[in-house]
């Protein structure tokens, strides 16, 4: 991954929509240019979070499979 996250949210074990709501909270508190990463084990979030990132006009840096969880990374562009 090229960019180092400015904020990491560990939402493993939390269920939909918990991880997405955590991401939105971090987005609200952050500033343009921030890179926010969410760790999650919830399958629904894999679909919900990228949809929200796109709709909100931000950048989806990537979705990465980790051991036993996955990581969604976004960049705050607005």
């Amino acid at each position: 991954m090229a960019e180092k996250p400015t904020k990491v949210i560990d939402a493993r074990g939390s269920y939909c929509p918990g991880p997405l709501m955590e991401l939105i909270k971090a987005y609200k508190q952050g500033k343009v240019g921030d890179v926010i990463s969410v760790y999650s084990t919830d399958e629904g979030t894999k679909k919900d979070a990228p949809e929200w990132i796109r709709k909100s006009g931000n950048e989806l840096v990537g979705i990465f499979d980790r051991q036993g969880y996955y990581e969604i990374v976004m960049k705050k562009t607005r």
């Binding site: 939390s14 918990g18 939105i24 709709k55």
Partner: protein, 381 residues
Amino acid sequence: MPEARKRALILGDGAAGTIMANKLRFHTDPSQLEIKVIGNSVNHYFKPDGVMIPFGFKNHKNSVKPTKSLFNHGVDYIHDTVTSIDLENHSVRAGDTGEISYDYIVIATGDRFSTEDLPGYNEAAHHFYSLEATLELRQKLAEFKGGKIVVGQASIPIQCPPAPYEFTFQLDQYLRLKGLRQSTEIHYIYPLNRVFTMPNVSSFVEKLMEEKGIMVHKLFNVDSLDPVSKTLSSLEGEQVPYDLLILVPPHKGQKLMTDSGLADESGYIDVDRNHLNYRDYDNVFVVGDATNLPISKAGATAHFESEYLANRIASEVSGNAFFESYNGEVACTTITGGQEAITLFFSYSKPPRANFQSKSDYFLKWTSSDTYFSAMLRGIM
């Protein structure tokens, strides 16, 4: 030598605290367990009627009872406000009462509306989440002559996640009955990319919304509202003007929980999802809306949790083995409009299925305040 009488202390006198106390009384011998409840409400309001009262579909007088009248014989009710909790010393402090010690504590203080998180909310928005606000909204709807109504929720989580769509369907029905539906646009906003948290229920509800001509705005996370231009703006960059805004306020857990170190800034308490105890304290439990469990904040949840927990504490007090766990079971009946409703059953591992709606389920919902006050709160079901 007989064992000393144990003391159970329940904080909160809403749905969870009342059901818990009354159930625990049924399951235990008063000579073995003293049960005290501390709560600061004067009246107990049956909140599900918030989707009936604004439309005159029910009279609010049947939805309220004096709190202190709802505890069974053998439950000691103290009307007071808890100001601090000290888990290490097994005690709490309350305003006039002072210090109270316990052997078991059950926290059932629910949550609160954090309108400070959304500037302008109090001037601009109406809601149906408290009796006072519901009666104001009833008045507002009575004066309404047509225009644009926006319905939704300011954030997640909220109490009773289906209530916003139930309200919207009731609103549609009410406007049809009043002959105002043609001259009114109903806009429904929702934070996720669907109309309800649970995907299979969401597709059922979304189809009904389409049939009823309700306009849906998905992925709408409320960012701000402007009471002057009457516009609601989302974080995603969308703006929706309104004539009447009906927005469920943002929720948080009680500040007392954050201040006492039991919860983070959200105020919701982290509990073991299968045993309902807080961290590794085996005498500290949390039930109802005060938890951060990944299930609906609902009276039905409080009911199922209390059934589990009352049995557990009773077994411990009487020295019996207890092997059960709470699996996240919830059952709830939700209105889908036109005097129809669906009943959803779900747990941590089983998502609900929404198959068909029926008039009998609506009847069940309409009469649920009677069942609630006479049986559910009393701990006999």
